[in-house]
Amino acid sequence: MANSLGIFVTNPDNMQHIMGVTKAAKAKGIKVKVFFTWSGTKLTQDPAWSELVKLADDVSICADSYKKMGFNVEDVPEGLTTEKMATQAQHGDIIENYERYMTL
């Protein structure tokens, strides 16, 4: 997909970078998908989470990682649907279909 950026998030300390990159990319008309896995799912509790899900075109998380981080998968983070509580297939979607890729 032309003019698109996928961001794969594993680190719970990088929310400022995720927000910075997403804001800058959206300002340039770039489609942004963000997928959170492992301890990166802790960022669902970050104060900037609600802004991110509104700003990015697509946000999803690894449900298994979310559970392993101690969260209840029935508690769907703000701005997500149960379909976005997903598997690593979302990571595969970024690798296969997005023009550019970053890990944070």
């Binding site: 680190n11 990159v21 800058a24 770039i30």
Partner: protein, 57 residues
Amino acid sequence: MKILHVYRSEPDGDTKKLVEIVSEGREAAEFKLFEGQVDYDKLVDMVMDADKSICWW
């Protein structure tokens, strides 16, 4: 091929060596996320301009 190295922290000797190896024969650029005020606008431009980006820990 243009390759972009994004450093999330100060690269140690091992990282520098790996960067050197994967950059061989390629046009390489770098961006430091750990240093000062981050220019995300510039970072996005560099990511979109590169053929491949590697985000180091």
